[in-house]
Amino acid sequence: MIIIKNDLCDFCGTCVAVCPADAIELFEARLVIDQEKCTDCLNCVKVCPFEVLEVKP
């Protein structure tokens, strides 16, 4: 499962752009992952400029 550290997030949308499952939603100051849609490809974790996303076993 992918965890978002929202307090570190800059809400830039880079993770949204690389999500093949359209599982990430970006609000003005909030990022949400739809865990049901998420395919665990980890593109978002790899690409995040600020290391905001983390894999939790």
């Binding site: 800059d10 830039c12 949308g13 880079t14 949204v16 752009a17 690389v18 999500c19 093949p20 359209d22 939603e25 970006l26 609000f27 003005e28 593109n43 974790v45 790899k46 690409v47 995040c48 400029p49 600020f50 290391e51």
Partner: protein, 390 residues
């Protein structure tokens, strides 16, 4: 907000505001929705533009220009500085003012603008876009439109809802971080670019001066390399080494599409413009001028389509056909170059810099540097010439 408009534009960046303005000037009733509380903020951009390009899309106002730049310096991994003789000058914009004024110009042309408007879905009739669902200050609204223009940036979801492929592969996106810093010493007439696999693998570091003491300093790395170390970690190391006394005024993150040419940017009742349509140069990452160029076409075509009461994909594809003529060839060439340039090793870059420095100063042009760097790829030479000289 009314219940229906001719055109709804989602996103109030330069491409959104420009397409909204052109559509309104052509007689359409236009609503532009911005998710953030204020147009122009935050600035996720290095703010540099070439004078030739920007003057093609808008008459520049002095108050939009933070600094005028007369030259470019390319810095090799071993520190060799190659000052490039070139073609024309550039500007470091003040994007806060620029974006704000572009939105104001759209407003004065009759565009209704709503900020803090979060679009969460597209209304469709079969495959055709017929409006949007949005949340504004805690209330949900459903608003109809004959045409929806998605100018919602790199994270575009409007395109996806319409069935267009806006998501990017890791190798076609550059995660970027930029700091606007002060208390540094600069030669304000130069834009500096650092190329090195250690500093920014698959990308580059930029130092764009806003005045003698202040600059936008940032970097982008290839998405593939970002998993080992984040863009922020790379930039922190660069700052520690080169500008340890800098005070950071702003830090922003962002993604830049360095992607293949996006062919499908239109569907029934819907068009994509700007970053949402990957209209950024795959080598430089620059997108202000390209996005505005495309947006001007899109806005005009939208107004024409409304007048003719025909918003089919076929009618709206006048936009993509016209845009193909302007942008396609150069984009494809730049992408071919990018695929090779970003694989150059530090040794390769150092050797290129050394052999360029042996040439007389007036021969140190961008084109000659590319030619030298890509000497093992002679097939790319026509691409280089056309990318830099159209």
């Amino acid at each position: 907000m009314k219940e229906s408009y001719d055109v709804i534009v989602i996103g109030a960046g330069p491409a959104g505001s420009t397409s909204a303005r052109l559509a309104a000037e052509g007689g359409a009733k236009v609503l532009m929705l911005e998710k953030d509380r204020e147009v122009g903020i935050p600035v996720r951009c290095g703010e540099a533009v070439g004078d030739v390009g920007i003057k093609k899309v808008i008459e520049l106002k002095d108050e939009w220009i933070a600094n005028r730049v007369g030259g470019v310096r390319l810095i090799a991994p071993d520190g060799t500085i190659v000052a490039v003789h070139h073609q024309g000058v550039g500007f470091i914009l003040d994007r806060k003012r620029f974006d704000y004024d572009l939105a104001m110009m759209a407003a004065n042309a009759g565009v209704k603008i709503v900020t803090k408007a979060y679009v969460y879905d597209l209304i469709k009739n079969n495959s055709a876009a017929t409006g949007v669902k949005l949340n504004h200050l805690g209330k949900n609204y459903t608003i109809k439109a004959k045409i929806v223009i998605g100018a919602d940036g790199i994270e575009s979801r409007v395109g996806r809802w319409a069935g267009l492929k806006t998501n990017l592969k890791l190798k076609d996106i550059e995660p970027c971080v930029q700091m606007t810093v002060s208390n540094i010493k600069l030669e304000r007439q130069y834009c500096d670019f650092y190329f090195s696999c250690e500093l920014a693998p698959g990308g580059y570091v930029w130092v764009f001066p806003k005045n003698e003491n202040t600059a936008n300093i940032g970097l982008g790395i290839a998405g593939e390399f970002a998993q080992k170390k984040s863009a922020l970690a790379y930039l922190n190391e660069f700052m520690e080494e080169k500008f340890p006394d800098a005070s950071v005024l702003t830090t922003v993150a962002g993604g830049v599409a360095c992607a293949p040419y996006m062919e499908e940017i239109v569907t029934d009742g819907l068009m994509l413009v700007g970053d949402a349509a990957h209209q950024t140069n795959p080598i430089s990452g620059g997108g202000i001028v390209l996005g505005m160029m495309a947006a001007k076409i899109a806005g005009r075509v939208a107004a024409e389509a409304i007048k003719e009461n025909n918003v089919s994909e076929k009618r709206l594809s006048k936009y993509s056909v016209e845009w193909d003529k302007v942008g396609e060839n150069n984009h494809r060439r730049a992408y071919r170059l990018k695929e090779v340039v970003y694989k150059l090793t530090d040794d390769n870059l150092n050797k290129t810099a050394a052999s360029i420095m042996k040439k007389p100063e007036e021969k140190r042009t961008v084109i000659n540097i590319f030619k030298t760097a890509l000497i093992k790829h002679p097939k790319l030479i026509p691409d280089i010439i056309k990318v830099f000289f159209g």
